[in-house]
Amino acid sequence: MSSSTILAKTSSDPTGQVSTSGLVWEMARRDILTLFRTPWIIISRSMAFVIQLFVFAYFISGMVVYPNFFQYYAVGSVVAMVASISFIIGYDIFEEAEEGLLDYLLTLPVSRRQFIIGRALGGAIRSMIYIIPMFVIVAVLEHFANPLSILAAVLDLFLLAFGVTGLSITMAVTVRSANRFDVTLALLDLAVTRISVALYPLTYLPNYVRLIAPYSPVTFASISVHDALIGTSLNATSLAGLLAFVAIFLVLGATIYFRRLEGGVYG
């Protein structure tokens, strides 16, 4: 084969361009697929969730004087879980940057905007898939059956996932050392999910937490999800807060992200 041509000519011309939405979706799909590489994580987390719900929530609800606290806690657990899971994308991106895979991704014919939207979308969809089993458990236990309510709740959860993904990406590119990044993200995860009304109503929180909790994106999402599933009215403030959170961190994440990378922070 010494003189034969190895790269046979092909008739089609490869210099055209893949559609924009196609590229965004491909970026997203990459992140979603990583979830299915480790299905046991979903299974074990779901089981831990059930145990937590039954053992802990039942125990606490006997002590807390609040109408149907078990329901409150069950719904809030799903919200808090979405936030926690959505933080994972930051670890992925940090790792990609360290391994240099990010450099490769950045040379692909994807605009920076498509790239960041794709990643955030992928991270958010991934979180949503992840919490399906837990959401179903809660829905069955609490008899949530109205499709419109469920749809609204899913939408709220998705917005939260989208925003936290953006926040996590922002952190991944702002904090440079790997050790500090791990700690920062873990603390932020704790802060965002615990300093919120997801698991306990505002009145049961310690004073200092009570000051900050109303402004947590997880609080916004919790209120919105509770409204959607249980309440009748729509809480506009919470929804607006949630949307603002998404917008701020997607834009911030994208801006800092690319400024850092182009400066060659990693490498």
Binding site: T10, S12, P14, G16, V18, E26, Y104, E262
Partner: protein
């Protein structure tokens, strides 16, 4: 095609690339030759829109890399120095995804292309093996195959044959030449002399972020003062009296790197006994003498005062 105009990249206080100007011609194979740390990869990553130049500019097919990065990305394909592949995927999936992102080929066409390159580099049977389980050489082949299968208008190979055995290196060079024959402009960054010399039509010598010389290997060698080099090893610590030799008309230049002295000659053989005699009477202890044709290695040494590596 590609034009670097006084391009610079500063990392903190380090000038990784400085005042670099170079025009890459349409459909040529250009070798970027320089030791580790010369700035080759940084140059390619700036051209590839990953890093932003801190001074000067780069344009690719008329598109400025800062102002129109999206247009630039559509034209290029980079095979990275260290394989940049998702370790959990097999070679087939890595290449298929790359083509999905960079071409408009449909599923069958992609599969055909991928099979073609993987068979050529003898990785077809291992196409499902996770790339993180592969040897460095196999992974490097997969990386090169990304660009070979993509066939971009501008193809960059960053040290394409590092970790490859000899037959694989020859094959890779052949495939890169074919890629150019089919219409790609190719840039090959390398720290290996034979690769630069055998693969590229023009060689750009890069050292400490700067362009030192650029021409065909032949011209570069010819320009390196005459046709032959006399390599002398002298005793340590001796200050070499250049003047003793430059008095001869045939001696073009004398360079010293520790105890190795290179004497560039226009016609060496006749002069050799004379030089040795002159030095010996001048009190210089010569340990060894070696007369050879000029190679790119000498060109590099001559231009930079250092050895490659």
């Amino acid at each position: 095609m590609i034009s670097f105009d006084k391009t610079g990249k500063r990392f903190g206080t380090l000038d990784a690339v400085k005042d670099f100007s170079l025009d890459v011609r349409d459909k040529e194979i250009l070798g970027l030759l320089g030791p580790n740390g010369a700035g080759k990869t940084t140059l390619m990553l700036m051209m590839g829109t990953v890093y932003r130049p801190t001074s000067g500019s780069i344009s690719v097919d008329g598109f400025d890399v800062i102002k129109h990065p999206n247009n630039v990305r559509k034209l290029i394909g980079i095979a990275f120095q260290d394989a940049r592949v998702d370790g959990i995927l097999g070679a087939f999936d890595v290449l298929n995804w790359h083509l999905k992102m960079t071409t408009v080929l449909d599923k069958e066409e992609r599969a055909e292309r991928v099979e073609q390159v993987l068979r050529a580099v003898d990785l077809w049977d291992a196409r499902k093996k996770r790339t993180w389980l592969m040897s460095g050489g196999m992974r490097k082949k997969v990386e090169d195959c990304k660009v070979l299968a993509q066939r971009p208008k501008i193809a960059v190979f960053d040290e394409p044959t590092a970790f490859l055995d000899v037959p694989s290196r020859l094959l890779m060079w052949k495939m890169i030449r074919e890629l150019r024959d089919q219409g790609s402009t190719v840039i090959v960054a390398t720290n290996m002399m034979d690769e630069a010399e055998r693969l590229s039509e023009r060689v750009a010598i890069v050292n400490r972020g700067k362009l030192v010389a650029i021409d065909t290997p032949e011209v570069l060698k010819g320009r390196t003062k005459g046709g032959e080099v006399l390599e002398l090893t002298v005793d340590d610590g001796q200050e070499f009296p250049r003047g003793l030799l430059t008095q001869f008309g045939e001696v073009q230049d004398v360079t010293q790197n520790e105890n190795k002295v290179s004497v560039y000659l226009s016609s060496g053989r006749l002069l050799l006994p004379k030089i040795v005699e002159t030095l010996t009477t001048g009190g210089i202890k010569i340990q060894s003498v070696h007369l050879k044709e000029v190679t790119l290695e000498d060109v590099f040494l001559n231009y930079t005062g250092q050895n490659l590596e």
